[in-house]
């Protein structure tokens, strides 16, 4: 697996500045992002022979064969495609698989793309995903009407009981990322907040308040990957994929492990091993933050702190781009900047921007090693990428 390290690079990246896209079909938004990323790379659609997408969920515009629909809409006939959908981290997983495809010669220029428009999407289309479908394993859970947030609530409550984590520590995650968003003109929410503000916001699903939850935006983004050799001749400084790991675990709430470990405990070590680095080597991190508890469990599973220690770790200011040991979500993350539903693509894009020194929010000086990490569903899956310049 080490053979894959450094053999490919992200050569173009683009995040749509939109946070509201009324009546814009998600495919139209994806096209804006794909062209933006290709322009950034100095490439055109004619160069693209690989397409990765996961556009079949609600407000994403596609169906079961979404990657075909998207290719048709764009107007290309890719010979390498990947529409693996493992939730929000799908695009991080796809980056690793695209790297393997490029290294083995299945593709030369791969676009990874995502957009969704939940703010205006009018259709309540039938879904067969495990969070709504009351058949098979879901027949024992869905009739009780859990919400996505309440499942994160189950994790957060148990973390408090097992490890003494407090609502104030959870709130600090939202406060820190809002400080970063304040510096990002494109962030959805930029007004600074306090721990008290988070705790005073309405309870959604205990123990999570409204400000423990991400923003809901229409948005999208795309990245372009190619081989190390071809990347040398392109206009932007290549950002190399040094490490990759992914894993899936469960969908049903009854299968949540007692110690709250998540598949990040598998994806992280694989990514670090491939890259030949340790958590201490990471200069800047982008860690999926759908809710305040989300990055906390990742910090433990990825080894940035011990099991149960994430509450103290975040409260001590380690995630702050203003002097923290692990500057995280430097653009404001999903809690404050951008979260259409599957924000894994933005962890890649902001990692690239940080390594180029062009972060739109807080820029970490001289960053050389970046970590992009995401989960899918409710800690159902995980994917980790380590990028270097």
């Amino acid at each position: 697996m080490k053979d894959l390290s450094g053999r490919t690079a992200i050569v173009g990246a683009f995040e749509s500045p939109r946070r509201d896209a009324p009546r814009v079909h998600p495919f139209a938004l994806q096209m804006e992002c794909i062209l933006g990323a290709l322009d950034d790379a100095g490439l055109t659609l004619k160069d693209v022979d690989g397409l990765c997408a996961a556009s079949g969920d609600w407000a994403e515009g596609g169906g079961t064969m979404d990657v075909i629909e998207l290719a048709e809409y764009i107007g290309i006939q890719p010979t390498y495609v990947n529409s693996t959908d493992v939730g929000g981290c799908s695009y991080i997983l796809q980056a690793g698989q695209a790297a393997a495809a490029i290294a083995m010669g299945l593709a030369e220029v791969v676009v990874i793309s995502y957009a969704a428009c939940p703010r205006w999407w009018p259709l309540n289309t039938p879904s067969f995903d495990p969070f709504v479908f009351p058949a098979g394993p879901g027949q024992y859970e869905i009739p009780y009407a859990p919400t996505l947030i309440s499942t994160y609530g189950l994790f957060a409550r148990r973390h408090m009981d097992l490890y003494g984590t407090t609502p104030e520590q959870l709130a600090q995650v939202a406060v820190t990322f809002r400080e970063h968003a304040a510096a990002n003109p494109q962030a959805r929410l930029r007004k600074p907040i306090t721990v008290d503000d988070v705790l005073a916001s309405p309870m959604i699903a205990s123990p999570l308040h409204r400000l423990d939850c991400c923003v809901v935006t229409d948005g999208g983004g795309a990245v372009v990957m190619t081989s190390r050799e071809r990347a040398r001749d392109l206009k932007r400084r290549p950002v190399h994929l040094a490490g990759y790991g992914a894993a899936v675990a469960r969908t049903q709430n009854s299968q949540i492990p007692d110690d709250l470990s998540t598949p990040a405990a598998l994806s992280g070590p694989r990514a670090f091993a491939m890259a030949g680095v340790t958590p201490a080597d990471i200069d800047v991190a982008q860690i999926y933050d759908a809710f305040t508890i989300t990055p906390m469990l990742a910090l433990e599973d990825l080894g940035f702190c011990g099991r149960g220690e994430s509450g103290a770790f975040v409260a001590d200011g380690n995630l702050s781009a203003k002097g923290g040991s692990l500057p995280t979500n430097t653009d404001g993350g999903g809690l404050s900047s951008n979260h259409p539903g599957k924000r894994g693509i933005f962890t890649l894009i902001e990692s690239v921007r940080q390594l180029r020194g062009e972060g739109p929010g807080m820029q970490v000086p001289d960053a050389k090693v970046a970590l992009a990490h995401g989960l899918g569903g409710t800690f159902c899956s995980a994917a980790t990428v380590i990028l270097t310049v």
Partner: protein, 138 residues
């Protein structure tokens, strides 16, 4: 029951579970080779994949592992509590908690199963404090 939106769709594997639920009994599965329990029910044993699991009746007793009170986001009515319950037999099930005020919810709270009769086919298990379990309408 508040905000119950959809009914379960029973199948060949789950039929014995819903049949027992109609009689006020909560079944789980046991591996015939290893004797280990499993939840949720499957057509195979996850401990011995070629073995077909047996059904066994639980005591219906357990304790609260973790919970979330849903105030907003899916409910047209009052807040309701979704939870993980650890049964005495060692498996963890997802369910509703009823009959406990939000401020009294805590990990380790003793619970007993009760059943809501929804229609001729489905009686849905929920969990309540043992003294309150007589409130079942199964």
């Amino acid at each position: 029951m508040t905000a119950m939106t959809v009914l379960p769709i029973p199948d060949e594997t789950s039929a014995p579970f819903w049949e027992a639920a109609r009689e006020g009994r909560f079944l789980i599965q046991r591996c015939p080779e290893t004797g280990r329990h499993q939840w949720y029910p499957r057509a195979h044993s996850i401990h011995a994949p070629h073995a077909k699991p047996d059904w066994v009746e639980t005591s219906g007793r357990g304790e609260l592992l973790t919970y979330s009170v849903i105030h907003r986001g899916n409910t047209r009515g009052d807040p309701y509590t979704c939870a993980l319950v650890r049964l005495e037999e060692g498996v963890t099930v997802f369910s509703r908690i009823e009959g406990v005020a939000e401020e009294d919810l805590r990990a380790g709270l003793p619970l007993s199963v009760a059943f809501h009769r929804v229609d001729e086919t489905i009686s849905l298990p929920v969990f309540r404090p043992p003294s309150d379990a007589g409130g079942s309408d199964a």
